[in-house]
Amino acid sequence: MSTPGFDHPDIVLCPGGPMLLRGKHVVEDAEGGRHETTRPVTAVCRCDRSQSFPWCDGTHKVLPEKLRPA
């Protein structure tokens, strides 16, 4: 039986910030390196400047607005 539920997406794009990814996934970076998620929700970098790439490390917050992800 299913009832209309609350919104609980697997992927959330945070305005100006990372992409949140729920669950276990393997993310492949541009060089073909594979990175497995390790926590219930993972923040994936969208500004390309994280020192922990492909994971977000909060760097987007110190970028000028025009360099932040949409």
Binding site: F6, H8, V12, C14, G16, G17, P18, L20, R39, P40, V41, T42, A43, Q51, S52, W55, C56, D57, G58, T59, K61, V62
Partner: protein, 331 residues
């Protein structure tokens, strides 16, 4: 004698009294007495370190207690009355420092507001200039919170609506290691302290703490323990998470510069990535859901957020003054 169980300690002892109230309180707690009238009488006039340490100890009865104190005193009505007198004073002081921001919406403006709060940063000092002795002192006084990290927020779970509750537990699950005790955050800090040659037992360093650390801990416990203050507790959480990721990177690099043990570096490295997630969850899903469920709590959310940043700023200034470091060096 039973050997210590790793990751579980119930051997915290009462700290050293800091004035008339804590002298009365600690003597009464030790004595096994059932009469706390003299403690109650001393509460309304207690100030500063004395009042803060008394409140900290009374809150600890709700967490893990003290080796020499009867567990039944957790719910002793006269002690709860003392706690209430001290909490009322603390809450009034915290509220008197707060001016609600005008014309801002939490969902849209929170990250920008955090950016504009220009506190001094201990992480910058640790990153570039601090010596090992200063960082050891910082880790010791921070341990009063970090060894129970996430616990004050756990009190909130039964007090929230369905969406805010699920969102909070999603974050807390990560704080508690996603079910793996080896990844539980306050345990990671314990491992870091031990590997750095510092006493990692719960409450070991309370005697070293300045008033500001006690106030940070008291505020967190008070917000967590009072259902009425749930909005402020979640605002505090949002501000805490939103100011953790980048400073944790600086802490990790500073600890590496000073040759600290990899376990201590790993604790902060974990918080770089974890809190980049947690700040989004706290702001968007947890507080977002709370304010849709209970929009009347918005002002209290801002109050909690402000209190978090303000108390951290006061703590940072105190430590810099102790070390003779100019605030302009770490702005």
């Amino acid at each position: 004698m039973a050997s210590a169980v790793v990751g579980y300690s119930r051997d915290m002892h009462l700290p050293t009294a800091r004035g008339p109230l804590t002298e009365e309180l600690f003597a009464a707690l030790r004595s096994g007495s059932e009469d706390f009238f003299t403690v109650l009488a001393a509460a309304p006039t207690a100030t500063g370190d004395d009042a803060a340490l008394a409140l900290w100890a009374l809150h600890e009865l709700q967490y893990r207690g003290f080796a020499e104190v009867d567990d039944a005193l957790e719910w002793e009505p006269q002690l709860l009355r003392v706690r209430s007198v001290l909490e009322r004073d603390l809450e009034a002081r915290l509220r008197s420092r707060f001016t609600p921001p005008q014309g801002l919406s939490f969902a849209e403006d929170f990250f920008g507001w955090v950016d504009e709060q220009d506190g001094v940063s201990l992480a910058r000092h640790v990153h570039r200039d601090a010596d090992r002795e200063q960082v050891e002192e910082l880790l010791r006084v921070r341990s009063v919170y970090h060894l129970k990290e996430a616990d004050p927020v756990a009190w909130l779970v039964p007090r929230l609506g369905v969406r805010a509750k699920a969102a909070l537990v999603e974050l807390q699950y990560d704080e508690y290691g996603g079910g793996d005790p080896n990844r539980l955050h306050h345990h990671l800090f314990e491992l870091g302290l031990a590997a750095s040659g510092l006493d990692a037992s719960y409450g070991a360093h309370v005697d070293l703490t300045p008033l500001e650390v006690l106030e940070q801990n008291n505020a967190l416990s008070m917000l967590g323990l009072h259902r009425r203050l749930r909005g402020a507790a979640l605002g505090h959480l949002a501000a805490f998470e939103a100011t953790s990721s980048l400073p944790s990177r600086r802490m990790a690099q500073g600890l590496e510069r000073l040759g600290f043990a990899p376990e201590m570096v790993a604790y902060y490295a974990e918080h770089v990535e974890a809190d980049a997630v947690h700040e989004q969850l706290a702001v968007r899903t947890i507080v977002g859901a709370l304010l849709e469920e209970e929009p009347e709590l918005e002002e209290d959310v801002w109050f909690g957020a402000f209190t978090c940043l303000d108390l951290e700023d006061r703590f940072a200034r105190t430590m810099l003054a102790r070390w003779g470091v100019g605030e302009e060096q770490v702005a």
